[in-house]
Structure formats: C-alpha cells, structure tokens
C-alpha cells in the first residue's frame, strides 16, 4: 500500500522515497499507516493499537501474569477460595459464584480469545480466498453455485449457525483445544462468505485489467496468471476485513460461551461463560463478577474495531486527513520537456 497518491496530487507527487536506514520498518503495514495518519484518525489508530497490544500481551504472558490458573478453586495449601468473595488483597478482583478467581479468569480468557481469533481468521482467509480466486477467475457454473451458497449462508443468523456448528463439531467435548477448534471453526463458517465475496469481486475486477490481458497474450498458463498477477493484486482489502472480523470473532465467541455452547470452565477460561454465570449476581449487588469479563470483551473488541476502522479510512485517499499547508508551498513537479532536456532520465 506504499506510495498511494491521491487524485489531485498525481500531477506532481513524487514517488515516496523510502530508502536509508529503517526503510523496511517504515514500510511495514501498520507502521506505514501510523506514520501517514494524523489528527483524530491517528488518535483512533493509536488507541486501537494500544488496546490490541494490551490484549495480545495479556494473552501471551497469561501464565506469568495470572496469580492462579483459570480452573483453580483452592490455594496451594488446599484452602478453598470461597464463592463470590469481594475484591481483596488475596483476590484483587474477587471470586465468582463457582469459586474461581476473577482476575485469573479474565487473564486466561484473553488467551482463549486470542487463539480462537487466530484460528478462525486464518481458516476463513485460506478457504475464502481460495474459493474466491477460483470462482472469480474461472466464472461459469461453479461460480454461480458458490455465490448462491455464500448468499444462503449470509441469510442465516450468524450466531445460530455458529451454535449449530459448535454442536456438530465438538459434540459435547470439553478439552481446551477441542473447545477452541469448535468455537473457531463455527466462526469460520460465518466468515468464509465474506472473504469469498470480497476476493471474488476483486478478482473479477483485476481479471479485466490490461496487465492480465497482456499475460494472456503471452500465453501464460492459468495457474501462473492466478497466482502471480491476479491473487497478489486482489488481496489489498483483506487486512481491513481481518481486523474487523477479529473483533466480531471475539463477540461471537463470547456469545457462544454466554449461551453455553463454548468451552467448559474446567478446560479453559472464557469471558462469555463467566458473564453468563454472573447474571444472577448483578441483582444481588455483586458487581465484580460481571464487570471485569464484560469490560474485557468490550475493550478487546473495541481495540480491534478502532484499528480496522482507522486502517479503512487511511486506505482511502478521499477519507485520509492530511496536514494543510499554511502557505502556498511545495515545489512544482517535474514533467517532461520535449526536445529541450529530452525527458528526465537520471
């Protein structure tokens, strides 16, 4: 996405020269956008990135950060935590109705959420992009069938579909990885049509570009055209959908857990389940069991949405904010000079 030049600037905007030390670093996807952004857009992006970073760090270092494991009910010497204990020095965020430590559950819950997001997004990208590429490139009957199927999946309420898949896949299993895979794959089914349609639309557009025609004139094989020319030019918008989908994946996972189709509490900590167990507590004045898992869901989803939305705005030159030049400044761009300097050829 480097070197996006807006319509008005095309007259003279020189190609952005990224050279010298750290050039590769400045060209990295998110870093590039961060440098490009400004004002409110930058604030949104930075806030989103900070929330995401906190989420990921918490998930990765859960074993170090959490005082207990997610399914622990007693301290090392065998004394029970006790149910619904208010926040104290021992349990900073109190304990749940089931007698778990809330802080530990929230921290371990981040790990579960991150794993589910990664597996769900990775699986849907692979399947969706592959189907979209084949469908868009070859067209015909296969294309029509796949589009109808994708539309049919859209027509289902996504949570209902996820519940159905969770039942089919896990079949009542309760292991951590079984639960995570079940949750992730049920989310995958909901996401595949999105990646499929976006990729297919891009492929159909790119397929008609002159450079693909030019490859066809050369007699390039279908596989080479698809991979070298079409696919690489069709994946630009995917990072945006990934960030938006990641937040949706967290919400779907929480929804599954809340409805009781997620992961067993003894296998892994999961925010949705904890939230559901704390419903009764809210009316009896026990605020800590519901607040913290709920806050975790909101902040994680919001962080990813903020990143996604601001990347989306930054990718569009019409929405991207720029520093206004106070004076009429800047240099006149070089254009070619016929005869006199024989075009600029350095």
């Amino acid at each position: 996405m480097a070197g996006e030049i807006s319509e008005v600037g095309i007259a003279g905007a020189a190609p952005e020269h990224l050279s010298g030390r750290g050039a590769w670093f400045r060209r990295l996807p998110v870093v590039h956008q961060l440098r490009q952004s400004m004002g409110l857009q930058r604030g949104m992006l930075v806030a989103g990135l900070v929330l995401c970073a906190v989420f990921v760090v918490t998930a990765v270092f859960a074993p170090v950060l959490a005082p207990f494991t997610g399914s622990q009910l007693r301290t090392g010497d065998g004394t029970s935590f006790g149910a619904q204990q208010p926040p104290s020095a021992e349990h900073w965020l109190g304990t749940t109705v089931g007698g778990y430590d809330v802080l530990s559950r929230v921290i371990w819950g981040a790990q579960t959420a991150l794993l589910v997001v990664i597996v769900a997004v990775a699986a849907s990208i692979v399947v969706g992009v592959l189907l979209g590429l084949v469908s868009g490139y070859f067209g015909g009957a296969l294309d029509r069938v796949l589009v109808v199927v994708a539309d049919a999946i859209y027509a289902f309420p996504s949570l209902l579909l996820a519940i159905l898949l969770a039942i089919v896949i896990s079949g009542g299993q309760s292991s951590m990885w079984g639960g995570i895979m079940a949750a992730a794959l049920s989310i995958t089914v909901v996401f595949v049509p999105q990646y499929f349609r976006v990729t297919r639309a891009e492929v159909v557009r790119v397929k008609a570009e002159a450079f693909v025609d030019s490859a066809r004139v050369l007699g390039t094989g279908h596989l080479r055209i698809m991979t070298r020319h079409v696919l690489r030019n069709s994946t630009r918008t995917l990072p945006l959908i990934v960030t938006l989908n990641a937040s949706e994946a967290i919400l779907t996972l929480a929804g599954l857990g809340f409805l009781g189709f997620g992961i067993e509490p003894t296998a892994a900590a999961e925010w949705g389940y904890d939230l559901q167990r704390s419903v009764a507590d809210v009316t009896s004045g026990i605020w800590w069991t519901a607040l913290f898992p709920g806050l975790a869901i909101v902040l994680a989803a919001m962080g990813m949405t903020l990143v996604g939305e601001s990347l989306n705005d930054l990718a569009d030159p019409r929405l991207r904010m720029r520093a206004a030049s106070a004076e009429v400044a800047g240099d006149v761009a070089e254009t070619s000079v016929p005869g006199t300097t024989k075009e600029t050829e350095e």
């Binding site: 030019s214 004139v217 106070a326 800047g330």
Partner: protein, 560 residues
C-alpha cells in the same frame, strides 16, 4: 476579436498560485500565473498533463478541492459591472457568481449529466438556483437555450433523458446549461477530447458561433494544437505550473518565442508527413514481396458480441478483409466504436472470431482453443493503450519485461533473464536502472516504452499496437512514435497499428485502412487514402481534423 481588445476583462487572474497537500508533502500545481480574458475572446490555455492548466481553469470557478491552498486573485466581473474575487469570497457569494458570471463545460458529457433527470429539469435547476423563476418560465428558457445550441425540436426533447442523446448532443446540452444564465465567460475544460473528430468539428463550430452571437468570453483548456488553431484568438502556454508564453494565435504558431513552445509545436504530428517515408520504404521492397505469404490474412472477418436475453447480438466487425504482409505496418483508423480495437484483440486471441476467417502467422483464429495458439503466441507482441494499467503494479519493470521470456521457457526466472531485459530496456532507450523501479515510478511515456520492450522481448514477427500513444502527451507521443519507427526499421516486424488519430497513423504506416461502424471503408497507401480519398466518410474525417495552423484552418473553415 479586435473590437473588444480595449474593453474591461471579464476574468482577471493575478499572480495565482495553488498548492495541494499530498501524502508526499505539498505540491505546487500553479505558480504565479497572471491572465485575463476579454468579452468575446477565446483564450486557449495549452500545455501537457500536469502543467496546471486544469487547476487554473477550476480556480476561476472556485472548484478546487479542500486540499488546495490558493494565493493571488481571480477577479470575475459580472454583467452589471461588479466583480468577485473567487479566491477570497465566502461560499454563498461564490455560488451566486457561478453560473451567472462564469460557467463551465466539462470534458466528459456523459458523466456530467445526471441520468435520472430530464435535461430540461437539469437546465432549469441552474436557473432556479439564481432567483425566483416560475417552473414555466424556467422551462421556456431551457427550450430556448436548447434551440440555441442546435438540438433539433427542443420543445419536445427538453423532456428527454440524457441517455436518449448521442455524445455530441450531450456536449451540446452541457453547453446549453452553461449558457442558461448568459454568463460573461465560459470555461471549457477539454470540451472535445472525449468526442470523435467529426463531432468535435461540430462542437467547435457551435462554440465559435455562440461566442459571436452572445459575446461571451471563452477559456478553452486543451492539449490539441489543432483545436487551438481552429478556435483561439489568444494562446497561453503553460509548463510546470508557470505561464511560458502568451501571444495571439497567429503569432504563436508563426513565430513562437520560447524554446518550450517551439518544441511543443514541433511535436504535433501533421497529416501528410509520413507519406514520403512510406513511399521511400515501398521503393526498397524486394521484387515479389507483395506476393509473399502475408503474416495476417482476414477474409470476411466478422465478430459479434453476444446479446442479452431476447436481444440480438452486436456486430462489432462486419465482413472485413485485410492483409498484413511481412515487415509491413498497417495503420487502422476509425472513430470510437468502429471496431478497430476488436480486430486487434481478435488477432491476439483475446476475442473469439464469430464469422469469416482470420489467419494470424499461419494459425486459424476462428474456433481456436488456447492449445492451438500456443505455438503462435511467442511470435506475436501486443502493446496496450494505457501503459498505466498494462503492467502488474506489484512487479518491477524488469520482472514485467522478463515475463514473456519466463513463460516461454527462454529463461528460468526473472533474475536469469535480466541480461536480455537490460538489452531490451536499452533498445527502447530506458536506462538499465529503471528495471528495478515499479511501474508507478515511471512517467507515461517511459512506461509505454517499457511496454514496447516487453512486446519485443521474444523478437516477434507481428506486433499489435492498440492506440499506443492515445494516453500520452503530444511531446511524449512524438518520442514514442519516433522510437517505434526506429525499432520497426531495425527489427523488421510486421505491425497492426490501431489509432483514432489520422496524423499519427500516417506517420508510422505503410498502408492505412479506415474503419467505420464495423466496416472497412477504404484501404491503401497514405498517399491514396489521405491524398485522394475515394470514400465519402474518409473525406469527412479528413475535413473534420483540425490542422495545427491557424491560417490553413481558417481557410478550410471558410470552404466548409
């Protein structure tokens, strides 16, 4: 218009400078331009793309985007004597001035008109924005201006929708919209670029006629020197945001002062220039050359695009017969929609042939499957119209040029082909280092030369060039055409050169074929087709083509 020379200018631009905020920092588009336009005068602003001519024109109407910063003054005077400084006034004052004092005619008429409203409504909308006018009065005025721009039967057609008009008529309606409030000056930004030559001539006649009857000043933005010679009273040449030269049209063409203006005028191709060269080439052909096996032989070639449900197909090419012999350049000219590009695409196997026969390099293209074409493909090169889109944006120029070599097994990888790629880049006069750049880092002309290098990578016997210079500026076009002619002489490939520009085709071709509505109306050498055209359509085409010389053009106009 000498009688108006002493009257007050309708537009005065004073030291205008405009810069745009871009990702790469501010870019200055216009740098200290001062101009004025008097009533009844046509001021042509010429220059290549990026010279700031359109930005200047838009500044007159205050139409610059929010990313622009403007300095200087643009004074537009109203008919009642007042003047508005477009740069500094508020939005509401500016809205009052637009339409009433200054109006605009845009480049692409089909995208300017709103397809869901009738043209009468769209003209009335502008009228009603400037004062209370009854629906009936507005409609009457709309009918009046439509009649004035030469729409036949305006009272009825005022209720038509834009799609019911042809391209030329749409441009007439856009001009009618500009005229509705009788503005002191009309800014016309490339008003005929999107139109065919024959239609262009009519629109230019209309603009000239309106100037004479209403006394409005016209700022004509164009890159076509023929249009300038035809229309302008005074010419302002812009280059890199600055005003290079300003002179009455006759003086500018006869005695250009600045180096840039001279170069610009020299780069404009003129019909008849290539005839001598083609004759020279024809004389050196060996005995019996004309009887040899042709590279391309089309007999009764018909190409039909399938129609929709219960709709007949569209015949784009209708029973065309033509030959291209070895080492010969055949120029194919015609207006848009005449089927010339379809023929080019069919020769490259990009468009299925539906009738007749098309033999390219000994392969029958009708009903050919991609397997049948494999042997023929390396012997054929294709240069696309728009160099901006014909390169994969994610590959470097070297990788793009190496692509044919890799695909046909002449090299194992783009890196292994680099030696040959460097040779090719040098053949098209690009420095080797350009191979490591990405397509967007090259200018249009450089990209089109790289495109030529790619087409020639496999040393083809036939090159198909589909409007290779129509996306380029005149000055750049001249260089690309020169290079093309050099390479053709050196390598001796046969070529189908498709273009809508007679002068360009004349410059490079041995023979010229003229297409009209899918049919081949005339073919022959440049001397035959351009010197003594036998078909009515060819004659009309030649007559409509504006000559970049104001005196000859004025004489031709009188004769018409």
């Amino acid at each position: 218009m000498t009688h108006t020379a002493d009257s007050a200018p309708v537009v005065r631009i004073d030291d205008l400078a405009v810069s745009f905020a871009t990702d790469a920092g501010p870019v200055r588009a216009v740098d200290g331009v001062s101009l004025d336009v008097r009533p009844g005068e046509v001021l042509a602003v010429v220059g290549e793309s990026g010279s700031g001519k359109t930005v200047t024109a838009k500044a007159i109407l205050g139409l610059l985007p929010a990313t622009a910063t403007t300095r200087g003054a643009v004074l537009v005077s109203a008919r009642d004597g007042g003047a508005t400084d477009v740069v500094s006034v508020s939005g509401s004052v500016l809205r009052q001035a637009r339409g009433r004092d200054v109006a605009m005619v845009f480049q692409e008429p089909s995208s300017v008109l709103n397809p869901v409203y009738t043209v009468g409504w769209q003209i009335a909308e502008g009228l009603r924005a400037h004062g209370k006018l009854s629906r009936k009065a507005a409609r009457a005025r709309a009918v009046e201006v439509l009649g004035r721009v030469g729409i036949p039967d305006p009272a009825e057609r005022v209720d038509y929708f834009p799609h019911q008009f042809s391209g030329g008529q749409k441009q007439r309606i856009v001009i009618a919209m500009a005229l509705a409030l009788d503005p002191g000056v009309i800014v016309a930004d490339e008003p005929t670029t999107a139109l065919d030559v024959t239609v262009q001539a009519e629109i230019l006649d209309l603009l000239r006629d309106l100037r004479d009857t209403t006394g409005t000043g016209i700022v004509l933005i164009t890159h076509n020197m023929g249009v300038v010679a035809d229309m302008a009273d005074r010419v302002a040449v812009m280059y890199q945001g600055q005003l290079v030269e300003q002179a009455p049209v006759g003086d500018l063409f006869a005695r250009p002062q600045e180096q840039y203006t001279k170069a610009l005028l020299a780069a404009v191709p003129k019909v008849g220039e290539g005839t001598a060269r083609a004759e020279e080439r024809a004389a050196t052909r060996p005995e019996g050359w004309a009887d040899g096996e042709p590279v391309v032989r089309a007999t009764e070639l018909t190409i039909t695009y399938p129609g929709g449900f219960r709709q007949p197909g569209f015949t784009a090419v209708d029973a065309v017969s033509l030959d291209i012999r070895q080492g010969e350049v055949l120029g194919l000219v015609g207006e848009s929609g005449s089927g010339k590009t379809t023929i080019a695409r069919a020769m490259a196997g990009l468009q299925p042939v539906t009738g007749g026969s098309l033999e390219v390099l000994g392969t029958q293209m009708r009903g050919a499957r991609s397997r049948d074409l494999r042997a023929m493909r390396p012997r054929l090169g294709f240069v696309f119209q728009d160099p901006a889109t014909s390169f994969n944006p994610l590959l470097t120029i070297a990788e793009c040029v190496a692509e044919p070599l890799v695909v046909h097994g002449r090299a194992a990888s783009p890196a292994a082909a680099r030696g040959r790629v460097d040779e090719l880049l040098e053949a098209v006069q690009l420095p080797r280092s350009f191979g490591d750049r990405f397509p967007h880092e090259l200018s249009g002309g450089q990209r089109q030369r790289a495109s030529l290098a790619r087409a020639l990578a496999l040393d083809p016997e036939l090159l198909i060039a589909d409007e290779p210079t129509s996306a380029l500026d005149v000055s750049v076009q001249a260089r690309v055409l020169e290079l093309f002619a050099e390479l053709q002489t050196e390598l001796g490939f046969a070529c189908l050169f498709v273009s809508h520009d007679l002068a360009v085709v004349d410059l490079v071709s041995d023979r010229i074929a003229v297409m009209y509505r899918g049919e081949l109306v005339e073919q022959g050498t440049g001397a035959q087709v351009l010197g003594a055209p036998s078909e009515d359509y060819t004659r009309r085409l030649l007559a409509s083509l504006p000559v970049p010389d104001p005196e000859i053009q004025a004489r031709r106009r009188r004769e018409r």
